[in-house]
């Protein structure tokens, strides 16, 4: 973590001699003896104001408005009714399960595929520079554009994906129109779009592994699998940690891809918490929508903080 040193005037003059810098142009006021802090808290101010007003206040207010029937102008306190409604309706509770499934599937696949691509693209492959670019580019393209394109490619029968499958004799499902595949299809597209970032994180992680370890394995006569299993896999743990946390938080909050591709459908089978929040907002149920937000907040916190703690603890172990 960060190093802390007392920032006192003494430290200042000491450091100046240590660094061998002559104390030139001695100020008439003398060497500043810490009249004011060198790191004024005022530098926090602009960030703090914007963050407090636009982010913190609404977040705190959400806990109140979630307990009201609310029209933006008037709010009537209704207690926990919104939460009861949110949880009682079956459509809405599907959203919870979907959110967790979506986050688990996307982050799991990004770890596995990202690690595989990371190993491949740090090997002596001749085309690796080109392949790195190709894999990373979708990260920069807008999610909505990706969503629209894949909705077309995944159309039943006429879509490119099903046509290719038909060539090898498989009749593909109606990826987005079938209740049992819709959520997973969107999750796969999410992986397609986001795996480039995971790959890049793994590439950085793998490249930072000292070569000595690989040489040691070579001396012991270990093969490629040994190298992967006993060096690459354990030592790229910080990368795995980053990929899991980043994509898990992203997955729990995901909205735009699902909204573009299925609108939560068919029925409510691919709804996630974020899409339900938007639907309730569109329908004018602001209190209910905010209750959904508070629940999302609770779910994200309840999953991410223990996960972070658990993964962080593993990171310390050798």
């Amino acid at each position: 973590m960060t190093r802390h040193r007392p920032d006192t005037g003494e430290a200042g003059s000491r450091a100046a001699t240590v660094a061998g810098l002559p104390a030139r142009r001695a100020h008439p006021r003398g060497v500043r003896r810490r009249t004011g802090p060198a790191y004024p808290y005022a530098l926090y101010l602009p960030a703090a104001v914007v963050y407090t007003v636009i982010f913190l206040i609404p977040t705190v207010m959400a806990f109140y408005f979630a307990l009201t029937r609310w029209t933006l102008f008037d709010s009537e306190f209704v207690g926990l009714d919104n939460f009861r409604d949110f949880l009682a309706e079956q459509n809405l509770s599907i959203g919870f399960r979907n959110t967790v499934v979506y986050a688990v599937v996307t982050s799991g696949l990004k770890v596995v595929i990202g690690l595989g691509l990371g190993v491949l693209l740090t090997s002596k492959l001749r085309l690796r520079a080109f392949l790195r670019s190709v894999v990373f580019f979708p990260v920069l393209v807008s999610t909505v554009a990706v969503g629209i394109t894949f909705s077309v490619l995944l159309k039943p029968d006429t879509g490119l994906v099903d046509k290719v499958l038909a060539l090898v004799g498989i009749s593909g499902p109606d990826w987005l129109g079938d209740a049992s595949t819709a959520l997973l299809s969107v999750a796969l597209v999410d992986v397609w779009k986001g795996v480039g970032l995971a790959t890049v994180i793994y590439i950085a992680g793998i490249l930072s592994i000292p070569q000595d370890y690989y040489q040691a394995v070579a001396v012991d006569g270990g093969g490629a699998w040994h190298r992967f299993r006993h060096v690459t896999l354990p030592l790229s743990w910080p990368a795995t940690y980053s990929v899991i946390i980043l994509s898990f938080i992203g997955g729990l909050r995901s909205f735009d891809l699902i909204w573009t591709m299925t609108r939560g459908g068919p029925g409510f089978t691919s709804d996630v918490i974020a899409s339900i929040i938007y639907k309730q907002y569109q329908a004018g149920f602001f209190g209910l929508s905010t209750a959904g937000n508070v629940l999302l907040f609770v779910v994200v916190t309840a999953i991410v903080i223990p996960l972070n703690w658990f993964l962080g603890r593993r990171q310390v172990a050798p």
Binding site: V50, Y51, V146
Partner: protein, 275 residues
């Protein structure tokens, strides 16, 4: 024999990557330059005619030139938000790294919360309305700044840690204090990470769909991502125009990618792996 096996493995990797990652983009391009009849087939075929200019003109002039207005809006939004994020986050990240203590601990906690907590959308709308900023570009800029700060502060904080304190102290001896020290000495040194923040945040804000959808509804204030969404319902049968729109709004990220590929990647990993 090993060489042959390697060559065929490489060829296989190349083909798979090309199919999986390039085919969707070639599909976008091909559909964008077809006539509306052929585009409606939504298949992966070579265009029989090439109405590129016609499609382009039609997309740009659609809905009273909403796309041009959207480009202007998105540009203002991106430039203003990113400029504010860079300055605010650099200042905050600097103090956060240099000065521990109770306020620093609180700031640290808030930065991490910003990464984890999903923004409370409707109360934010309520607040912007109270401030008279709902459905305005400045309102959306503030939203993007508030939501983008955490990530940028973390990047800046990590980078400041690599700048020796001796430098601050030497500058202090020269009579620099507080703001002068930061803006004259530290900020110029932050250039590499500043470039990273500019690139990642520009791409994220330019591509943002959710926040404009909530905080800036309406054609007058459309951003490019939202036009895409509007086009989809209006031209549900004119796929060539929809995909021409997709191609047009993918050009800025594509340019960023071509020019800054290495830097974007380096910056993203620097920010992500550090933890």
């Amino acid at each position: 024999m090993g060489g042959l096996r390697r060559a065929s493995a490489e060829a296989a990797a190349f083909v798979v990557a090309a199919v999986v990652f390039l085919v969707p983009f070639s599909f976008m391009l091909l559909t964008a330059v077809k006539d509306d009849k052929q585009a409606a087939d939504l298949d992966f075929s070579w265009p029989t005619s090439w109405p590129v200019v016609e499609n382009l003109v039609e997309v740009i002039s659609a809905r009273d030139y909403v796309l041009l207005r959207a480009y202007v809006n998105s540009t203002i939004l991106t430039v203003a938000s990113v400029a504010l994020i860079v300055v605010f986050a650099a200042m905050a990240g600097y103090v956060l790294q240099r000065r521990a203590g109770r306020i620093g601990a609180l700031a640290n906690f808030l930065v991490l919360s910003g990464l984890i907590i999903p923004p409370a959308v409707v109360p934010t709308i309520w607040l912007l309305q109270a401030l008279g900023l709902f459905k305005t570009l400045p309102g959306l800029i503030l939203v993007e700044v508030a939501f983008g700060l955490s990530y940028a502060v973390l990047l800046f904080r990590a980078f400041v840690a690599a700048i020796p304190r001796d430098l601050d102290e030497a500058a202090m001896l020269d009579g620099c204090g507080g703001f002068t020290l930061f803006f004259r000495v530290i900020f110029p040194l932050l250039k590499p990470v500043t470039i990273t923040v500019i690139l990642t945040q520009s791409v994220a804000i330019f591509n943002d769909f959710v926040n404009p959808l909530y905080f800036l509804p309406g054609d007058e204030n459309a951003t490019v991502q939202v036009t895409l969404y509007n086009f989809q319902s209006q031209y549900s049968t004119q796929w060539n125009l929809l995909f021409m729109d997709i191609v047009l709004i993918t050009i800025p990220p594509l340019l960023a990618f071509v020019f800054f590929n290495r830097k974007i990647v380096a910056g993203m990993t620097a920010g992500a792996v550090k933890g």
